[in-house]
Amino acid sequence: MWTTKTFLTKTKRGNIIKIVREHYLRDDLLCGSAACNTCPHKDDEFVLDGKPNSICTLYAYPHYLILDTNVVLHQIDVLEEDALSNVIILQTVLEEVKHQNTAIYQRLLEIIANKKRKFYSFVNEHHKDTYIERNPGEKQNDRNDRAIRKAAVWYETHLSINSVVGQFPKIVLLTDDENNRKIAQEEGIVCCSIKDYVENVTGFIGLVDKLSKNVAPEACSKDALYPAHLTPAQIHEGIRGEGTAVVNGFEKPILLQGHSGINRAVDGDSIAVEIFPEEEWRRPMDIVLEDKADDDPGDQLEEEAVLLKNTKPVQQGDDEITPTGRVVGIIRRKWRQYCGILMRSKFPGATRHLFVPAEKRIPRVRIETRQSDVLANQRILVALDSWPRNSDKNAENEVILLEHDVPHARFSEAVLACLPPDDWTIPEEEIKKRVDLRSECICSVDPPGCTDIDDALHAKALPGKTEDGLKRFEVGVHIADVTHFVRPNTALDKEAANRSTTVYLVGRRIDMVPDLLSSNLCSLRGGEERLAFSCVWEVDENANILHTKFHKSVIKSAAAMTYEEAQIAIDDKSRNDAIVSSLRILNTLAKKLNRKRLDNGALSLSSPEIRFQMDSETHDPVEVQAKKILDTNSMVEEFMLLANISVAQRLAAEFPQCALLRRHPAPPPANFHTFLKAAKQQGFDLDVSTNKAFSKSLDSAVIPGRPFFNTLLRIMATRCMQQAQYFSSGSKTVEEYYHYGLACPIYTHFTSPIRRYADVIVHRLLAASIGCDVTHATLLDTKVANSVCDNLNYRHRQAQYAGRASVTMNTHILFNKRVEVELASVLAVKRNAVHVLIPKYGLEGPLYLPSDKFTYNEEEHIQTCGDVVLKTFDELTVRLSLDSSNLQHRKLVFELVKPHIPGFSVDVMEVEDTKKETEKDQKKRKEETPAKSASKKSKKK
């Protein structure tokens, strides 16, 4: 099967070491041609056609192409075009390309991998008949050229064996090296330059334009189907010298015929036109070019070329003759947004589609989008060279998602195939493997409207007392067992890993795992049996952990409550059932845990969070309010933190190299600079040396009568913090594991596997560590762990930004045609503005201050105008409205009402008036709404 000849190749490097490597030559390498009678091919191993069609007029007979390295390196664009096929890529070439340019190498590999392209990579370096040794004194390049020629000769003779003369494909060697061509010709190899070859190719008009000619006349031209535009310099020369572009000089409009005559000009553009000599002038078409809807522009151009040739120039004197010319350059584009529909590509999954504008004068536009499923059959607005935009809110959401690189296409078939059936129930044998907690009184507490419930809790008093005479409790946190369904390395797993997180926009959720799992099988809904991963502690009444255990379990949640319901139940003295007593234990313990955490130095920071109340009909936000924080919120949070910490400790001990943890680095002192200065102006010296000291000084910074001041301080403190990040335990030292905000030495995410992929990994690791699941190689690979962390951090950040962008967008919708006067606090003083926060809405933005009225003190960070001084923490009254002058970038405008500055601040009276008007407006709008939504629906159909 293999030849036993050894050859030695010698290489030198650095301090000159002779490296001797074996080089085996084989006789079992296939030539890949269907015309071959000698190689023992199997049916699926033919890559090259037996009778390849020639597309080149120079070589009308069937032939294969062999390329040399420089042709691949310089003309990869030509190769990528779906024109040349039946090409042999020699290993010599492949390796040289790999050494010189990895990007091109990758592109070449992709072409080879595409079966339709019929590119065959032939391992000539290991073939016993095509391998050559470097001659003494011969350059490596010359040796490689010789190897290529040798392979070309071999193919020719190889294919001729057992074949009738003229019945086998010939070989054509494409090389731009003249010297090489000369030697090749002497050796009897048919060869030519790529330029000559491509220029004589028929049937692929655009191919010639792809040819790289060293001097690229138009570097930005991507659409090489059309003749290249002249460079600006050339156009200017033309205009001055010959005046060809002065349209005014002609009485008649100039006829630009066919797509290539129009050459990518769009209605409204200012263009440079070259007028043909008079004898080439034509009549406007008597042939109507058929508009073939689903054809690619490439095919169309080709047809036109044929048609235009047939319309012979008409005789002189014909009235209808119109000055004819062609567009040679575009001076100024006048692109705007165009409306139309998307024509989906015939290939499923393709990202390039044609956009057909409603206006006939506008050409079709190729759009690159992954949204074809969403956009198909909808009227869309296209900005040329931009993403599709639509005035519809869904489209706005799309824009947010696209801008933040959030994968949000529907789940693919492959992913959905990984799901269990809709009516899946827990099999008996699965229950046997798990701890049965169905009899425990477990309940979940979540925000209202939450359908992806991933955590549930229980607590009960245990008999007996601890050694110190304290009461004992059992507390359990039960997390949805997502990893039971999301098995490693399945399509579902890969998709979830890529998405990394569920993204929450206002009124829309982009799931990480399909709905069946996130809202049903994994969601710990009340009254239904679900699989869970439980963390159960034994604690004493002071919330000290006595014992921790992890196990997979089966639970049946007794109730799925909202924070508010839980709070009411706890407060309701008349209720004494199992659920309520469990909640009360949890609540008491949580308060102790919270106290302990804060004593440790955990920061209780604040960020303005708002909720939109949506109109049930239009899904437009109608009201906005800051989120309320209840006792029960922090109750759930405390136990989630506790579970995360317990799991993190376990993982770090079990997997010192690849545990997925979360750290929060301490902020560098420089971050606090302006913040501390602002606090000092209010008379508070904050200590930021450690998180504990910081936390303490924040607690004491209270101004009686200004309850919001402390919250404001905390909001600003939050802005000084670093981002928390995921990392794998091997990549950081143990000291670096520290979580600054939570003041705990180690932390991870375990409690939300439905919406975070980090938790999925943590579940797998934890399962492996307690022996109820097996590890797999990628889970333990430190490199993979690092790259997973990178992706998690990136997606996590993008999801946050997207969420914020969505809030901003909805605020804009809310304040559309609405003006409000509200109290605001100054967050920061900038050179030309003050940054204000409106606590009621949690909105913030700049209030611009003209420099002719205000003077900025850089040292103190204050703005003064007469006797009015604006500094951080000041309370102002501002007027809020929406500036929609630029639809693409709408923004909220803040205007000063109080303190009153003549000539700058707005008058409240005026405000009152506009307020009344807007109210009227709103009423009107409400009446209109039903009709509007109805029309929307009909449009979509």
Binding site: T6, H23, R26, S121, V123, T775, A777, V784, N791
Partner: protein, 258 residues
């Protein structure tokens, strides 16, 4: 950033897209093996083996009377000494008596001890000397194979052919593909190398060594490939022994050399 997790693993580049290794072999192919028995006249048995560019000389003395301190009442003592020639690698180094050589000597002793019918020579000693002339990966394996041939040449009864082979792992299209008989380049570029010394004809393993961590999922495929390598080597050794003896035997394979 790309959302793709195709992390570059060690061993990724070891297989070309056409499925060939760096030196042109397929994953399941051994390097060229050439061997010769009886290369010296001084020792009781000797052999020379080339596995690709790895070249090893083996010499066997004994069995002879063991020194009093070492001698065992009911079995033979194997004394194995492994050393690498200073010129055996690209960079010239003084290597004799190194710690690594000592460790390999111990490992060789263990492997050889399992293959010899020890009970036939009580209070005796057999010395096996191994010299690596050129090292290009798998020096330990080549040494074991050379020792086997030298022992046969010395006429020392063995249970079966003791053969050794290495295997490593590479990735092709994201799937693991074990490589048999890894060369030095593959050893240094790749991940974990598994070395197996076995007695293929009686289906027993004498010695297994792994150079670094390998996930359990892949162990069985790599092991399987190494064992297949041992079986392939056995055929080659057997052929060499028969050629050396210059006559065709009619006995079955596993009765060799008794």
């Amino acid at each position: 950033m790309s959302s793709d997790f195709n992390v570059k693993r060690p061993g990724l580049e070891l297989l070309s897209s056409q499925g060939l290794r760096l030196d042109g072999r397929r994953p399941n192919e051994l390097r060229r093996i050439q061997c010769k028995l009886g290369v010296f006249t001084q020792p009781d048995g000797s052999a020379y083996i080339e596995q690709g560019n790895t070249k090893v000389l083996a010499a066997v003395y004994g069995p002879h009377q063991a020194s009093k301190s070492k001698s065992l009442q009911d079995s033979v003592v194997i004394n194995c000494q492994y050393s690498m020639a200073t010129f055996s690698t690209g960079e010239r180094k003084k290597r004799s008596g190194g710690r690594k050589s000592e460790a390999i000597s111990m490992q060789l002793t263990q492997a050889i001890t399992t293959a010899i019918k020890k009970e036939l020579y009580p209070r005796s000693q057999i010395d096996v000397y191994l010299e690596v002339l050129q090292a290009d990966g798998g020096a330990y394996s080549a040494s074991v194979n050379a020792a086997t041939l030298a022992l046969i040449d010395a006429g020392i009864p063995m249970k079966a052919y003791l053969c050794s082979c290495t295997a490593s792992i590479a990735w092709k299209d994201g799937k693991p593909e074990p490589l048999v008989d890894v060369s030095h380049v593959e050893e240094s570029a790749g991940g974990s190398v598994l070395t197996v010394s076995s007695l293929p004809s009686i289906n027993s393993v004498a010695w297994v060594d792994m150079s670094q961590r390998l996930h359990a999922d892949y162990l069985s495929v790599v092991m399987k490939r190494a064992m297949q390598g041992c079986r392939d080597i056995e055929v080659i050794l057997d052929k060499a022994v028969r050629e050396h003896l210059g006559e065709s035997w009619t006995m079955s394979d596993d009765a060799v050399a008794i």
